[in-house]
Structures are given as structure tokens and as C-alpha cells.
Amino acid sequence: MSGLKIKDLKVGYGRNEVIHGLDLEVGPGEKVALLGANGAGKSTVLKTISGLLTPSEGVISFNDDEIGGSSPSALVDKGVIQVPEGRRVFPGLNVEDNLKVANYGKSPEFLEEGLETVYKKFPILEERRKQAAGLLSGGQQQMLSLSRAIIAKPKLLLIDEMSLGLAPLLVKEFYEQLGDLFSEDVTLLLVEQNAGLALKYCSRFYVLRNGELVLQSDSAEYVDNPVALQSAYLGVDA
């Protein structure tokens, strides 16, 4: 058995518990979406998996390796890579330095290889490689943020709200590109507001409400009618 397994996870900020016992699984190479309204705790789950937050209870394992409570850098070494919400490029560093950071602590050979891949997929980044990342457009910043993840060679990829603040058409393009950007066997858990898009890309999904799991299902059942998810989001019968 492998892939990502979360059992009875509890986590919060200080004394405020946000996630009250979550069970979640993503099989190896599987693409799964974590949905829910604002404040449901989706980002908290991702931040806990990537090590920014420490679980107060529960087990997180990836490929049978217990990873709950590890430091972010230890997790990066194990191939757990997060594309953070709001892209979080380093605005004052130029594009190339942003990409270099993604190769931190690894051999420069990997970087050259990574840069080549990334620049082939996003030529605009090569064109602007000496420019401060803060001067890029939102879409270009998202390219950069995804490129950092490509260079980091993920085994488990966590993507937090790629659609945040981007034009819907652009977001659609990014989703269509995802399969091309990362290898098939990358295990993916993504958080998304735009349920319609996420369901098209992911085979399964979970819905989180107020820190608790309220629905899990195959995407196929909802992909043509994401509106039916409303009741799960809101906790009322639609």
C-alpha cells in the first residue's frame, strides 16, 4: 500500500482547532481534489501535509513513510511539494533566482536540466528571466510558481487554489496543461474553489465543511452537474 494516507488528522492554529479528525487517501499517481467553501480548512490540510503546520493528532503517511510533523525541508527531500495559494513567488528576486531557489541544496546539474524543461514549457519565463518576479503578470507568476514545483521534482504534489485571482480562461488553460507539466505517476492533491474545473481534472474528490469531511465521491458522478455539490458545501438540502 502506498500513496498519501491521512488518518484522524486534527490540526489548528494555537488553541483553535480547524480540522477535527480527517481521513483521506490519495492512491499512487491518483489525482484527487479537495473542495469546500472559504474557511472550510482546505488550505490548512495542505499546509499540514507540507509541514508548515504540525498536526496535534493523527497520522499522515506517504508511500508508507510516516511524515506527519516533519519539517518542510525534510518533506521536500521526500518529494512532497506544495504550490502555495496566491503563487507566492519571491517578488524581489528575478525569475531565474526564483527557479534556483526551487533547486536549493541540490546539485546545479539538476537546475540546468530543470531550467531547460521549464523554459521549453513556458518560453515567456526565459524571455523575462532577469526580471523581478514581482513585475510579472498574475498568469506569469502562476507559471513561475508551477515551474518551481517542476524543478523540485515532486512525487506528491499539493496545489493550493490555482484559480485564485486569475482570469477563468487562464485557469482553464493551466488545468489543461497540468498533465503535460508533471509526469503521470505524480500523486496529486489539489485544493480548488472552482469545483467544475477540478472535477474535470481529478478522478475523485472530497468536500470539507467546517473542518469535517461531508462528502467523498468519484468525479464522474458530479462532473456534469457540479451544482449538485451545493448542499454538501452549505450543509443544507439543495
Binding site: G51, S71, R88, F90, V101, A152
Partner: protein
């Protein structure tokens, strides 16, 4: 005319001290968001160690400096691990700053016990601090030349580390966005400790090279620390080059104030400058106000 050149040079030499300490302060603040109030005292101890070893323990000057720098680096490593690191995990700004004040008190008293409170004047090799060259009417002290060269070298080395090494890249990434830097696999504690050590080494160089200029006294770096602090504020506290420029500017302002205003006013000058700067440009003279993020 020569008069003005003389004053400007004098201001520049003092400015070097403020610039280096300003740089040391900004470095730690920018990367780790910690104000290190012990920076001046730490620098003073480095200076004391070097000159005391050389003059009273008969160590060759170069060896004494090397030992002092090693002690500075090692001591800072221990201080960071022992006092700062446990508090960083709590994630609060104020306790750490108060901790650095505690460290400052502790170190100040240790050095007072060790060296006593009287001012000393140690000789430097060849008495070069007493050699003066006359270029026309312009008087150039040989030690001031050493100060200038040392400052230039120190700034170059720091610039190289920040811009060309992986540690520097990590420092910059951390300064920009701590969480994002962690998600890239940069170890916070590694970047933090080497930033502290680098900052203390810059302070140590300052302490050593300015000791012959200032008389060695247990608290001789305190006044430089305060002015380094002002330099950092002038530079907006988030810009390394801003801190350096702020230091040089403060040195010049001070030198020319002494020329034209009563000496007492020169002592108040840094405070007046901070007041005005915080009122008019709280983000510093050289950094732009943080704009809105592009979406």
C-alpha cells in the same frame, strides 16, 4: 577647500563604522525579522579580544585577529542556538528582541568583569595609527586608510556571499517570504544561524578596526551601535545597501554638523534624524514604499 575635503573624509571614516553596523543589523532583521540589540556589545568584545590578545598576551596581530574572528563566529553560533532558537519556535517577535537585550546585558557585564571599566589604548603594529601623510594640506591618517580598505573588503565579501552563494540566495528568499522559502526546502534554522554568524563577523571586523580610533573601553561600541541603528532606519531597515548608504550619510551629516553647529548638537543629531525620517519617510530614504501586489 581642503578644509571641506578633510571634513568629508572624516565623516566618511565614521560613516564606515555606522554603515558596517547598520549592515549587520539589517542583515539579521531582514532575514530572520529579529532586532539584535546585542550587536554592538558583541562587536566590542571581538575588538577587545583581538587587541587584548595582541597587546597583552603577545600574540602576533594577525593571529589575534583570526582568533578573535573565530571566537566571534563560534560564540555567536552558541548564542543563537541557546537564546534565540528556542524562542523562534514560539513565533513571537517581542520575546526574541527582549532576549537579545538580555544577552547584551550579560555580555556587557562579562566583559566589564574581564577587562574592567577603564579605557585602554593598545598599540597597533608599527604604530600605524600615529602615521599621518600630508597631501598638500590634506592630512591622511594611515590607520584611517586601513579602515577604508577593510570596509571596502568587508562590503565586497558580504556582497559576494549575498549575490553569488547558495546561502545568500536562501537569505534573500527568506527575507522575501518565509513560508514560501520553507516550501522550497530551505532550512530556516540553517539560514538563520549563518546569517547571525555573518552579521557578527561584520560587527567583529568593525569592532577590531575601529578600536584604535575610539580608545578601547568596555562599552566603546555602544555609541557606534546606536548610530548603526540610525543608519539602518535611514535605509528603511530592509535594504542592505540602504543601511550602508544610511551609515555613510549619517557620518557626513555628523562631520559637517560639528563644523557648523555647536558640538552638543552633533550628539543629538542621530535622534533628530530618526525623528524626521520616521515622520516623513517611515520606510527609509532609499527604499520605495511597498506597493500593492500584482494579481
Amino acid at each position: 577647500m581642503v578644509d571641506y575635503i578633510q571634513i568629508a573624509w572624516q565623516g566618511l571614516v565614521s560613516g564606515f563604522a555606522y554603515a558596517l553596523i547598520g549592515l549587520a543589523l539589517v542583515m539579521v532583521y531582514k532575514t530572520a525579522r529579529i532586532l539584535n540589540f546585542a550587536a554592538g556589545t558583541m562587536a566590542g568584545i571581538s575588538g577587545f579580544l583581538a587587541h587584548w590578545w595582541a597587546a597583552e598576551q603577545d600574540m602576533p596581530f594577525g593571529v589575534a585577529i583570526l582568533f578573535a574572528m573565530i571566537m566571534t563566529g563560534a560564540g555567536t553560533y552558541v548564542i543563537e542556538r541557546l537564546t534565540v532558537r528556542p524562542l523562534v519556535k514560539l513565533g513571537d517577535f517581542l520575546p526574541i528582541v527582549i532576549m537579545t537585550l538580555g544577552v547584551e546585558e550579560f555580555l556587557a557585564n562579562v566583559s566589564l568583569l574581564w577587562w574592567g571599566g577603564t579605557a585602554r589604548r593598545y598599540r597597533v603594529p608599527g604604530d600605524i595609527d600615529r602615521i599621518n601623510y600630508l597631501i598638500g594640506d590634506f592630512r591622511l591618517n594611515a590607520w584611517h586608510l586601513v579602515v577604508a580598505i577593510t570596509t571596502f573588503l568587508t562590503l565586497s565579501i558580504v556582497g559576494y556571499i549575498i549575490n553569488q552563494t547558495e546561502l545568500g540566495l536562501g537569505m534573500k528568499a527568506f527575507a522575501e517570504d518565509q513560508d514560501a522559502a520553507k516550501l522550497m526546502g530551505i532550512k530556516e534554522s540553517t539560514v538563520s544561524i549563518w546569517t547571525w554568524v555573518l552579521s557578527a563577523l561584520v560587527g567583529g571586523v568593525t569592532g577590531i578596526v575601529f578600536a584604535p580610533v575610539l580608545f578601547l573601553q568596555q562599552d566603546y561600541m555602544n555609541i557606534i551601535f546606536i548610530k548603526g541603528f540610525v543608519a539602518a532606519i535611514l535605509g528603511g531597515f530592509l535594504s542592505l545597501s540602504g543601511g550602508v548608504a544610511g551609515g555613510l550619510l549619517l557620518g557626513e551629516l555628523e562631520a559637517f554638523t560639528i563644523k557648523w553647529a555647536p558640538r552638543e548638537f552633533a550628539a543629538a543629531l542621530p535622534v533628530v534624524i530618526v525623528f524626521i525620517v520616521l515622520l516623513i519617510r517611515p520606510h527609509g530614504l532609499f527604499t520605495r514604499e511597498k506597493g500593492h501586489e500584482r494579481v
